[in-house]
Amino acid sequence: MARLNMVQAIDQALQQEMERDDTVIVLGEDVGKDGGVFRVTEGLVERFGENRVIDTPLAESAILGFSIGAAIAGFRPVAEMQFSGFSYPAFDQMVSHAGRMRKRSQGTWTVPLVMRTPYGGGIRALEHHSESMEAIWAHIPGIKTVIPSDPYDAKGLLIAAIRDPDPVVFYEPKRVYRAIKMEVPEESYEIPLGKAQVVREGSDATLIAWGAQVRTCKAAAEQMSAEKRGEVEVVDVRTLNPFDRETVIGSVRKTGRAVVVSEEPPTVSFTSEIMAQIMEHAILKLEAPARRVTGFDTPTPLAKLEDWFLPDVDLVIRETLKTLEF
């Protein structure tokens, strides 16, 4: 088994799906010869040609709208938005069409597309390159929103997303892209959408996260364990919508304590949804109020102040201890 980083794992998933099914196409800005600005689509155009790996003009609404049309007519487009911060021109197409074409045609036309895009902070990038706005996609009816936290999951979830009969937003935590390598099976495999995963077992409290913050939470849990301050369970949400209540809220019901961690501005973020789910489905099991560790309701600070905005291990531990000591 090869050790791959997330960029390589996603690239491999794309290669294998394109190999398996010639209706799978990849399109976006600089995805061809350049291999994508993060090299996620490296080698694809050489292997599958310019008809299936398309360098488009610079137009996000067109990339998504075109993908909707191609999907209706029998293709499985994987559209790249170069950065999530530049995907907003495509929002109209997602909310007005991708998410409701099945409904509007009473099941006749469907939109099996994937919109992949790097998101999130921690790489000292320029303005508009560090946001974490997953909640806006998770909010749209008819769209699935998936966020892998490591290379293994990235491959399996992307393959499942490409095979899914409905539109999927696939958010890639760019901070994780090259940060870790792990064993990724060479053969193709799917990780079902809509399934969260307990990535560390524990009985004292539950940390809930997705994307890059799963690593933060795992590190916090390990440190707390080493310091004998509690055994904390960590749940990787993996799919925001549809939400796996059984696994995520099930863990909270088991431990009685919850801290939800994300790098979003907190107001109407996906953490808000999880807090609501806890309220509805776990309140009588809680030993302490559920807490959140998030960014702020401000634009993501430029590089110099960015670290103050992002959750880190110390902060997660401090908030977890507050629930333990409540």
């Binding site: 061809g32 360098d55 600070p301 430029l302 590089a303």
Partner: protein, 360 residues
């Protein structure tokens, strides 16, 4: 039922100065020796600053940024046709020379590029918007600003700048259409540097020129040799005069070339050949103007050195000021979100203070 021709169009390209620095006197814009010297100094300063920024970036002292090398004449020449303090500049991110021309302190430009928001402060009385990274989105702001100027009876012009890639965005079409329909005093300046990251011009559009896109929106469009500062200034001055006198918008295509990588995170060798790049090295706008000035007796070898040294000094002073800047107070994160901090921001500031150690 005859077939009739309803309209016919042609697109012009304007060149004033050749590569040897010879000019067509009949097209030469009205610029004094002092003005020409100033333009030369600004271009040299911009180039030196750009070079220095690259070094700072490679040392890890700046973040990713877009160089402007080769495009100095295109944006400096255009901006020079406007009036600082009265007219508006609505830039993208490859117009450093325009900021410098209008007096943005170099240390502020360094600060922003190091990820320090204090560098984003707009200078007193300067009508310039911040660098805009989301491609083509700012063109619409230029239309609103231009409309407001017209509505208020100010004869100010709005200049907005963007790349060849930007012309593919819906916002480009929408802004051009607003400009045409409302007959707004806007100059749409496309710095057509032939590349949008790895995508060459011919994959961006099937149109022979960017300039011809103006026709569909009912405004004049012109292509200009973007490495010829006199030609650029000439067409920009014409466009500004027309805008001021109620003649509406103009699309200028400054035909130029991105001599550098797209940004410091890019490696153009992955997608661009030397055959594509090399001819443009010869067309560098700065030596070209220097040749003209030498021929006219405005500049000699000592003069070239002197201008370069002055620029080096200015850049060195700016780097020093930038390095002496005290670290920014993290509390700033909560400033300028709204006119006044809202209760949630006040609360979140308290979370921050826990982290900085100031909180309880």
């Amino acid at each position: 039922m005859p077939v009739t021709t309803l309209a016919q169009f042609s697109i012009e390209r304007v060149e004033v100065m050749d590569h040897q620095g010879n000019v067509d006197e009949s097209l030469m814009p009205d610029l004094s020796e002092e003005q020409i010297r100033h333009l030369y100094e600004m271009m040299v300063l911009t180039r030196q600053f750009d070079d220095r920024m690259l070094k700072l970036q490679r040392q890890g002292r700046l973040g990713t940024f877009a160089r402007v090398m080769g495009q100095e004449a295109a944006h400096i020449g255009t901006t020079y046709a406007l009036e600082k303090g009265k007219d508006w500049l609505i830039p993208a991110f490859r117009e450093t020379g325009a900021f410098i021309l209008w007096g943005t302190p170099l240390e502020d430009i360094l600060a922003v590029n190091a990820g320090d928001e204090r560098g984003q402060k707009i200078g007193e009385g300067v009508r310039v918007l911040p660098v805009s990274i989301p491609i083509a989105t700012h063109l619409l702001h230029a239309t609103g600003i231009a409309w407001a100027m017209k509505q208020k009876g100010e004869d100010a012009v709005a200049l907005t700048v963007f790349g060849d890639g930007a012309t593919s965005e819906g916002d480009f079409s929408e802004a051009m259409n607003f400009g045409g329909v409302f007959k707004l005093p806007v100059i749409f300046l496309c710095q057509n540097n032939q590349w949008a990251i790895s995508v060459p011009y011919h994959k961006q559009t099937a149109a022979t020129t960017v300039a011809q896109k103006a026709i569909a929106y009912g405004m004049p469009g012109v292509q200009v040799d973007g490495n010829d500062i006199f030609a650029v200034y000439r067409v920009a001055k014409e466009a500004a005069d027309r805008a001021r006198s109620g003649g509406g918008p103009t699309l200028i295509e400054a035909h130029t070339y991105r001599l550098s990588d797209h940004t410091t995170s890019d490696d153009a060798r992955r997608y661009r050949t030397a055959e594509d790049l090399d001819p443009w090295l010869e067309k560098d706008p700065i030596p070209r103007l220097a040749r003209y000035m030498e021929k006219q007796g405005m500049l000699d070898e000592d003069g070239v050195v002197q201008v370069r040294e002055q620029a080096t000094q200015k850049v060195a002073d700016a780097v020093k000021a930038f390095e002496e800047l005290e670290p920014a107070d993290p509390e700033r994160i909560f400033d300028n979100v709204f006119a006044e901090r809202t209760p949630n921001l006040e609360e979140q500031l308290r979370w921050l203070k826990f982290r900085t150690g100031e909180g309880r």
